[in-house]
């Protein structure tokens, strides 16, 4: 019998009942709620006459519909109603809420790891597709819809089909100026936005082992943009060091027991994966998207695809549609494309290390005339740590706007939008049509690349900025 993978080990440990050959009732260890769907789920439960099965395993924070303007000025009326409802319904159910301006508030996928709520070997769900982020700690984490959210509230369990397994091995030493964001965008470019559909992805290889935890969280965050709702990295010493002493991480003797159990989680050497992909990271250069799917990605020194040189009619039409929306010419270099906006934030790239990387590029420089650049820290704690280091001052002096924590312009649920026809370089996760506002044009890139582009006033190669 072959060895078991990380996914299989975690999965097997959570089976409450086998429902069919490939479908199980799984225990859910952590359920995270946010303002957009949290109160709706709790109200749905109430309307069915049911109670929250395990409020102590459920945690909530507002992030999506909250204004990130200084002082939270400008949260919409409906956003305020959602926040009020979240407060009332979590209190009534005995669910811990990390409220506005309190340590612990933030983007739900930033606070889970930060507080030590997200742990190796745990099953974690949230009504948000980027829940895969938490897999960076060796958790089995995935996004769910509203119906499944109600199911978890009512039962602390979920019916799931066992996914196929894909191992993506990133091998080699990461070149200077190339980040975790570039690694995962390069993989999406290589296997496509549906390349991971139906799979749980395990990221492995020397370049993953070398990545700090925050980089692994970024990698796992974009699993859903590969089509995979679950992505994970085996826990190791870095994981344990990251979690040690965090508020909700186990302590003392329980910590030792937990670490002992977590050491058993990595895939066995003879584990078999349904699909394997190998990426040579030494060939990766900073990535930037040119189109309307994360798979529309090139190296920043690359050329925007020319539909005229594509034979397959469906692919040619897809490129034409994307270029028309993006207002770009096929065959032109992507670098140097003038921009109007820069957004540094989101569950992908709003952690302290992301802000440090962007600040390193911005320090002593100025945002180009005509460009608006926002920095939105991922959580209240990230904000406070960044301020303590003086990162806010570096950004403000360079002409960036320093904001309050939240999802902000990543999905534009709170009126924070890129205007129609304007072009943004964003550290977020989706360059979909209208994602950052109706007819907004989004180019995904790393925090360092985004900062470099803000300074240049155009899509820029951070490696030319002389500091990375």
């Amino acid at each position: 019998m072959p060895g078991r993978s990380l996914l299989e080990k975690i999965w097997d440990q959570h089976v409450i009942a086998r429902l069919s050959e490939d479908t199980d009732l799984l225990h859910i260890d952590r359920h995270l709620l946010h303002d957009l769907g949290g109160s709706r789920g709790l109200l749905d439960l109430k309307s069915r006459g049911l109670k929250v099965h395990n409020p102590e395993l459920t945690f909530a924070t507002p992030d999506h519909a909250l204004s990130t303007a200084p002082g939270r000025a400008g949260t919409s009326k409906i956003g305020q109603e959602l926040l009020a409802a979240l407060r009332i319904e979590t209190a009534a159910s005995g669910i811990t809420l990390f409220d506005v301006d309190q340590p612990g508030q933030g983007i739900v996928h930033v606070i889970g790891p930060e507080l030590g709520l997200s742990l190796p070997g745990a099953t974690i769900v949230c009504g948000d597709s980027h829940t895969c982020t938490h897999g960076g700690l060796g958790a089995l984490a995935f996004g769910i819809g509203s119906s499944e959210l109600t199911h978890v509230l009512a039962t602390q369990a979920l019916i799931q089909r066992r996914p196929k397994t894909l191992r993506a091995r990133f091998e080699g030493e990461l070149p200077l100026g190339v980040t975790a964001k570039d690694m995962i965008l390069a993989l999406i470019g290589q296997i496509g936005a549906a390349g991971g559909t139906g799979y749980a992805v395990e990221y492995a290889g020397s370049a993953i082992r070398a990545l700090p935890i925050e980089g692994r969280l970024t990698i796992c965050n974009l699993s859903i943009e590969l089509g995979a709702k679950m992505g994970m990295v085996a826990p190791d010493e870095k994981t344990f060091e990251f979690l040690r002493g965090r508020p909700y991480a186990p302590q003392g003797e329980m910590w030792d027991r937990a670490v002992k159990a977590w050491r058993e989680l990595p895939s066995d050497p003879d584990a078999v994966f349904d699909r394997e992909v190998v990426i040579d990271v030494e060939k990766i250069i900073p990535q930037v998207t040119w189109g309307i799917s994360p798979e529309h990605v090139v190296g920043v020194d690359g050329i925007i695809p020319d539909p005229k040189s594509v034979d397959d009619p469906a692919r040619r039409a897809a490129i034409e549609t994307a270029l028309e929306y993006m207002g770009l010419q096929g065959g032109a270099p992507i670098a140097g494309t003038p921009i109007d906006w820069v957004f540094i934030g989101s569950c992908t790239n709003s952690r302290l290390s992301d802000l440090r990387a962007a600040a390193e590029v911005a320090r002593g420089r100025k945002v180009a005339a005509g460009v608006r650049a926002w920095v939105v820290p991922g959580s209240e704690n990230v904000k406070r740590e960044a301020v303590a280091e003086g990162l806010d001052k570096i950004f403000i002096e360079a002409g960036f706007e320093w904001r309050e924590p939240g999802c902000s312009m990543c999905l534009a649920a709170n009126g924070e939008v890129v205007a129609p026809g304007q072009r943004s370089v964003s550290t977020s996760n989706r360059n979909f049509v209208g994602r950052q506002g109706p007819r907004a044009r989004t180019h995904l890139a790393s925090p360092a690349s985004a900062a470099a582009s803000a300074i240049a006033g155009a899509i820029a190669d951070v490696r030319m900025m002389g500091r990375s």
């Binding site: 409450i16 009942a17 069919s20 479908t23 009732l25 225990h27 957009l36 709706r40 049911l50 099965h53 102590e56 395993l57 919409s76 409906i78 956003g79 959602l82 409802a85 709520l117 742990l119 745990a122 009504g127 597709s129 995935f142 996004g143 769910i144 819809g145 509203s146 119906s147 499944e148 199911h151 009512a154 602390q156 369990a157 996914p163 936005a193 549906a194 559909t197 859903i224 089509g227 709702k229 508020p247 909700y248 186990p250 302590q251 329980m254 027991r257 937990a258 309307i292 799917s293 469906a314 897809a318 999905l411 534009a412 649920a413 709170n414 989706r430 979909f432 209208g434 109706p438 007819r439």
Partner: protein, 211 residues
């Protein structure tokens, strides 16, 4: 509780662009609020369906007869990729869509369909392309039939295609089963699991702040 689904013969609209994401199916601002159910049908495919001035885009297929009454979508690869927003399924449902045929769907969207009594059918790309061509050959007048019990699709040309589906999900759709009620019947098993897991992994269950 989802409505049961067994058979459907209806107008089908091919929307063949690949990677139609859930942001394109329903924009986020339509989903902010707790009273959104019932308001979403007119906003399904908003960015494709309406021009910037708010008028209907005459080129979009669901704005054309007879596709306006379509209850089936025939879709390009990776339809419903992107976010977990169940509002994407609700908006299609409120628009009258009851089944979607494609070569592949976003994983979370796919699961959300079943939760709402919408049948997503996965068939090979050649079958999808043939269906779309057959529908277009009749300018949408030819209907598509889906029989979930028999697991077959009949194209307007009369061509019959079979499809695979997870037997559990098939049964759930045929009977309109409520998963929450079904799982609550296993509440003793859930409690038994938690009791034993509390010993095996106490750090999962003891979530009081340790500071």
């Amino acid at each position: 509780m989802p409505k049961p689904f067994d058979k459907l013969t209806a107008t089908a609209a091919p929307i063949m662009r690949s990677n139609i994401d859930t942001d394109v199916i329903i924009r986020i601002e339509r989903l902010v609020g707790n009273g959104i159910r019932g308001t979403l049908g007119k906003w399904a495919f908003g960015s494709l369906r309406y021009l910037p001035d708010g008028s209907e885009n005459p080129d979009f297929i669901l704005n054309r007869e007879p596709y306006r009454d379509a209850e089936i979508l025939v879709t390009g690869p990776n339809f419903g990729c992107g976010s977990s927003r169940e509002g994407a399924v609700w908006s299609l449902q409120e628009r009258g869509i009851r089944a979607i045929i494609g070569s592949g769907f976003g994983d979370i969207f796919f699961a959300n369909c079943f939760q709402n009594g919408i049948l997503p059918v996965v068939v090979g790309k050649a079958v999808v392309d043939q269906l779309a061509a057959d529908i277009e050959a009749t300018q949408g007048a030819g209907k598509v039939s889906i029989d979930l019990e028999a697991q077959t699709i009949v194209s307007p040309s009369g061509a019959r295609h079979s499809f695979e589906i997870d037997p559990r999900r098939r049964e759930g759709l045929l009977k309109g089963l409520d998963e929450v009620a079904l799982t609550l019947q296993r509440d003793d098993e859930i409690h038994a699991f938690q009791a034993s897991d509390r010993t095996a992994r106490p750090w999962i269950h003891s979530t009081r702040i340790s500071a």
